[in-house]
Amino acid sequence: MTIKLTIMDQMEEIAREHGKILAPLRDDLVLLDSGLDSLGFAVLVARLEDKLGIDPFTASEDALFPVTFGEFVKVYENGAH
């Protein structure tokens, strides 16, 4: 599974678990409008570390603030290299 598909998969699962409705995951979707709240994203980052073996937010010295879904995926794709 690609990184992007893994992220989509996890976001759908967390939305289901948290009883949220997820917006269609297009690259230009603003994360704040995705349907997940901050706890949802915190869980997502922890789960992705479990699935992908990386946590680019904690590993990076720069503060990373992805705004859109596409940017969020990029952070992980860059972190995997």
Binding site: S38, L39, A42, D50
Partner: protein
């Protein structure tokens, strides 16, 4: 609880046939009535402040019986004490003599006027000094950082929970605790005063060997932390023992471990007790349920009073320590209540332990006690034990992570691990608010256990 005539420990031994065992040796405690393990040098320790730096529990126990009533002060060095703190301990307790044995890890580091070796063999003594004073007992707390606090007790306070109870000469007591910590010392003193045998563990002894030995010596009363018990239940050697009394203390006894022990030992009384080095033994619960009845609070029981203030359990008790050595901070508040730092929550007519005040995880402003999440995870049929910890999160500050040990590897192989993790998470979601549900579950082969027998937690 009046002790008009203070007896020293040695005055309790001699009437009953009594043995203390560890992995390597067996000592006939009865012989201590007219014998010694200190090579005829006990007299040198009169009125001294003595550090017990023995490596083995058996030699520690023998020396304690000999020194009570003789030494001015007895400071018991726990097996996991940090050598960096030795100088501070020696200075803080005015120590001028040290007892070592062959396995003392730190035997070379103490430069003191008197240094005496102790062995597990009891030799007949021509004459023994008569006990002439009330010895101060000093225990070290198991704080995670910094120099341990030195907590001052008397023998009367340490034995108040069971002194005067009828002896049970058919009993053999066993413990997973180390007797150099408060919980283990209670068992040791109970065995000495009750005239019964005691089976101790040895450093590095595998749990299976220890259980086999407990069975061989016919253990009837066995005590440990919930973590000790979870590990024991994972060992096939658990079949060797059939105690009639099983007790847990030192950590929160959740319903899952109480139920597991009930089904493992249907013939036994399964009880859990609350005690701390500072507050002493507060109470025992025997109804098989987690937590304790609400009416324990605000009502004096055996002289022990409890109250709940700002969420934490406070205890005023004749079994409590008298003070900290050398510390500015008082041990108790103005009214004599010790703040245990253990947080409790009232649910119906019962108080349940929520966790340590210092262990709270902050999830975006919402508080989570690791222990309350563990209690839920541990109820899952395939989970043996778990440790819930915080992980830094760029979004909420922290998230909750659960490290989980499964009951059997076979199950893990039969079912996809991912599916099992999902199942445990669903289990948590059904029982906990959203922020308390672990963000991730790690299946791990084992968890670190501290020398106290408690799960090793890293706060902060």
């Amino acid at each position: 609880m009046a002790h008009t005539e203070a007896r020293s420990l040695r005055q309790y031994v001699g009437s009953a046939e009594q043995f203390f065992f560890d992995r390597h040796a067996c000592a006939r405690i009865t012989d201590l009535a007219g014998g010694t393990t200190l090579g005829g040098r006990l007299e040198e320790l009169a009125d001294k402040s003595v550090l017990l730096a023995t490596g083995g529990q058996l030699t520690t126990g023998l020396a304690l019986i000999e020194l009570d009533g003789i030494a001015r002060r007895l400071t018991i060095l726990p097996p996991d004490a940090d050598p960096e703190h030795f100088a501070a301990i020696v200075a803080g307790a005015d120590i001028d003599a040290v007892i070592v044995d062959q396995t003392s890890a730190a035997s070379g580091t103490f430069d003191l006027p008197v240094r005496i070796g102790c062995a597990a063999e009891i030799a007949a003594a021509e004459r023994l000094p008569a006990p002439s004073r009330q010895t101060e007992w000093v225990m070290l707390t198991s704080g995670t950082t910094g120099i341990p606090k030195m907590v001052v007790h008397t023998l009367a306070g340490l034995t108040a929970a069971f002194c005067g109870k009828p002896a049970d000469h058919g009993a053999a007591w066993g413990t997973f605790y180390d007797i150099r910590r408060y919980g283990g010392l209670q068992i040791f003193l109970r065995a000495v005063l009750g005239g019964v045998s005691l089976i101790l563990s040895s450093a590095g002894e595998p749990i299976g060997d220890h259980l086999e030995r407990l069975g061989r010596h016919g253990v009837t009363h066995l005590l440990g932390t919930p973590t000790h018990w979870r590990r024991a239940l994972m060992s096939p050697a658990i079949r060797n023992i059939s105690p009639r009394y099983v007790r847990l203390s030192g950590e929160i006894a959740d319903q899952a471990i109480l139920d597991s022990l009930h089904s493992a030992f249907p013939q036994a009384v399964v009880s859990h007790a609350y005690a701390s080095t500072e507050a002493g033994v507060a109470f025992e619960v025997r109804d098989g349920l987690a937590g304790f009845p609400a009416d324990f609070v605000e009502r004096s029981r055996d002289g022990v009073e409890m109250k709940v203030l700002q969420g934490s359990l406070r205890i005023r008790s004749p079994r409590a320590a008298s003070r900290y050595l050398g510390a500015d901070a008082p041990l108790a508040d103005e009214d004599g209540f010790v703040d245990t730092g253990d947080m409790v929550e009232l649910r119906g007519d019962r108080y349940l332990f929520a966790g340590r005040r210092g262990g709270i995880i902050n999830i975006g402003g919402l508080k989570v006690h690791p222990e309350e999440v563990e209690a839920v995870v541990n109820r899952h049929p395939q989970v043996r034990m778990s440790l819930v910890r915080s992980k830094r999160s760029p979004i909420t500050g922290s998230v909750v992570i659960a490290d989980v040990v499964l009951k059997s590897d076979n199950n893990a192989q039969q079912r996809a691990l991912g599916e099992l993790k999902g199942d445990i998470l669903k289990f948590c979601r059904d029982a906990l608010p959203r922020h308390k549900v672990p963000a991730a579950i790690n299946i791990v082969p084992s968890l670190d256990v501290a020398a106290t027998g408690k799960l090793a937690r890293r706060y902060g």
